[in-house]
């Protein structure tokens, strides 16, 4: 056992809907959970705006972090006593699992894009800076906080340890897939984690899977694939995310132009200036952001007012899909028509692509761009998963990109600029030749709570 940690006199157990129980035996872990930085994660939803599509998706970064810790604890039980596993790394792994998302802010994906911040940078700051988390970690030794930060940043020299928290089959993904499936209420996203954990083995560079567990991993990859398309890339969620980004972008622009807010964006002030401190960052959570959106519904600026009302009342943008021909021949014209109709395309005509989303698919790492999942064969050699599994190979080769064009459809039906609006509709909905954008919004918006 590392110095600085004591076993709790009584094991603490948290009830959890995904893993049933989360077991805490180390004082270090118990104390980390009690820090204000960790407790802050209770006020940040795991899936951002997804709750506007799947109303059950109200779970937080706190729940997820606890789940990742629990999976890590179980992996370590399997590894204990096996070659390549060093038991003295146990607390480092558990701490990194627990803290891996601690730098996430409210709606961090949109927030980071607009304010050019990075949750991974904040994670490092929280772990190594002047925080309660840091004080607790330092009990384990002067370098311990830096080691935890390095594991999370994937620059820790022990690659096995890194792979347990961050690889293509790791504690983080195994928790979020199951947890997100549970809270969204979808039937996909489930896989036999117990089986995967039983057949997971440590090697020098990564955690690998015994080849007898290949079908359980196939199931995991299928779950991942389906969750991406059905939950993470859901177009209604993306519409909400687009509006959220545009609110932040508008506030930033108004401030640059010296606009006199009824409700001054105090909490954002130093983010506009780029002088934000860790304390500024820790003060932000989703309640704070929602408060501002509530207040900005009554601003004089019609764009900010409208966007906030849309977000709070779920009056989202509709979308069409588009293709190369549209980008080459119609995109510029469409923006002009929006301006002509008095609709600012900077806020009301938005392209969103799959690459704008923070989720990824399984990659076989054909050219060492990324470490793949390896199966441990009976002869002791490692084989990349898709070379053994036809199913994974088939999924790896599938189309996984899409682009959507979001716009306020109901505005095209309002009086004024009828001719221009008709021209816009013709461009958006023309269906006559191949490669034109097609209207698919209705089908999606009727799906899973998306009926408004």
């Amino acid at each position: 056992m590392r110095e600085g940690n004591r076993k709790l006199q009584e094991e603490k157990v948290f009830k959890d809907p995904v893993h049933r129980y989360i077991h805490i035996r180390d004082e270090l872990i118990w104390d980390l959970i009690g820090t204000r930085e960790f407790q802050r994660m209770r006020r940040i939803r795991q899936l951002g705006t997804t709750f506007l599509t799947f109303h059950g998706a109200e779970h937080t970064r706190f729940n997820h972090s606890m789940g990742v810790y629990e999976i890590m604890r179980r992996i370590i039980e399997v590894f204990d006593g096996r070659p390549h596993w060093q038991q003295e790394e146990r607390l480092l792994c558990l701490s990194a699992a627990l803290l891996h998302d601690i730098g996430h802010g409210p709606y961090s994906h949109s927030f980071e894009k607009v304010f050019q911040t990075d949750h991974e940078w904040w994670t490092r700051k929280i772990i190594t800076g002047d925080t309660e988390v840091n004080q607790v970690l330092r009990r384990m030794g002067e370098n311990f906080p830096q080691d935890v930060a390095d594991v999370i940043e994937k620059t820790y020299p022990n690659k096995l340890v890194v792979s347990m928290i961050s690889s293509q089959i790791d504690a983080d993904r195994m928790d979020y897939l199951q947890r997100d499936a549970y809270y969204t209420g979808v039937s996909y996203g489930h896989f036999d984690m117990e089986r995967i954990l039983r057949v997971m083995r440590p090697t020098e560079d990564q955690a690998v899977i015994k080849n007898t567990g290949m079908h359980a991993v196939e199931d995991y990859i299928m779950s991942r694939y389906q969750m991406y398309w059905q939950v993470y890339f859901h177009p209604v969620t993306r519409s909400a995310e687009v509006i959220l980004s545009k609110i932040l972008q508008r506030v930033k622009k108004l401030r640059e132009n010296g606009y006199d807010f009824f409700q001054q964006p105090y909490h954002f002030q130093r983010f506009f200036e780029g002088t934000q401190t860790l304390e500024d960052y820790l003060c932000l959570d989703e309640s704070v952001i929602t408060y501002y959106f509530q207040m900005w519904q009554f601003e004089d600026d019609s764009i900010l007012r409208d966007l906030c009302q849309r977000f709070l009342n779920r009056r989202l943008f509709k979308f069409v899909e588009f293709s190369q021909n549209f980008l080459l021949n119609k995109w510029t014209k469409l923006q002009e028509l929006f301006r002509e109709a008095g609709i600012d395309p900077d806020y009301y005509l938005v392209i969103d692509s799959s690459s704008d989303l923070p989720y990824d698919f399984y990659r076989p790492g054909e050219e060492e761009e990324r470490m793949p999942i390896h199966l441990l064969m009976p002869n002791g050699r490692l084989r990349e998963l898709s070379r053994e599994s036809d199913l994974v190979e088939a999924i790896s080769g599938k189309k996984r990109t899409d682009h959507k064009l979001y716009y306020p459809k109901e505005w095209l039906e309002t009086p004024g600029y009828e001719k221009t609006k008709q021209e816009i509709k013709d461009m958006l909905f023309s269906d006559n030749e191949q490669g034109e954008p097609k209207q698919q919004a209705q089908e999606w918006f009727k799906y899973e709570g998306g009926s408004q």
Binding site: T155, D360, R363, E369
Partner: protein, 168 residues
């Protein structure tokens, strides 16, 4: 979307052709570190800095037909060859991008001469560029044990980084 995609197209146009996904990843990272206006988010991985965003954007550009991707079979492994298409070129012209072409051309033509293994070293060293040189060296030795980079490799990498910095 669009402006970030267009910047990648501009970079690829300046590079002429890039052979290998790993090489493309490292070229974009090094250019970004040299302050070309690229937005892709990178994190550290087994083989050095890697951007999932870049992988996805490149796939998107291929599926839109703006970039051609040719898969080639080499001895026991696959390799991908990337080039801008005619449509990609037209799209880029329509976008009227503010892009530092001269610097981008100078940097990419140099980087294209090197192997992806060497660019992995350069990009790893740049990832730790806030550390003193000796610490960078130690990091590389610890994190890239299996690549077995020599001191001469490291010296060559520093030389390349310095001369690229002069370009900008």
């Amino acid at each position: 979307m669009l402006p970030d995609h267009a910047k990648l197209l501009a970079l690829l146009q300046d590079a002429g052709e890039v052979v290998g996904r790993k090489k493309w990843q490292k070229i974009v990272y090094i250019c970004k570190k040299l302050e070309l206006p690229l937005q892709e988010k990178y994190t550290f991985h087994m083989y050095g800095p890697y951007s999932e965003e870049l992988s996805m954007r490149t796939e998107e550009l291929c599926s839109l037909g703006f970039v051609s991707e040719r898969k080639e079979t080499k001895a026991g492994y696959y390799q991908y060859r990337y080039q801008l298409t005619e449509e990609g070129n037209t799209f880029l012209q329509n976008m009227q991008l503010d892009w530092p072409r001269r610097q981008a051309e100078a940097i990419t033509s140099r980087l294209n001469e090197y192997s992806s293994r060497f660019l992995e070293l350069v990009s790893t060293m740049l990832y730790f560029d806030d550390l003193p040189k000796d610490d960078v060296k130690e990091k590389v030795h610890k994190l890239k044990k299996s690549q077995n980079y020599s001191n001469a490799d490291m010296e060559e990498a520093w030389g390349l980084i310095d001369s690229l910095k002069e370009t900008i």
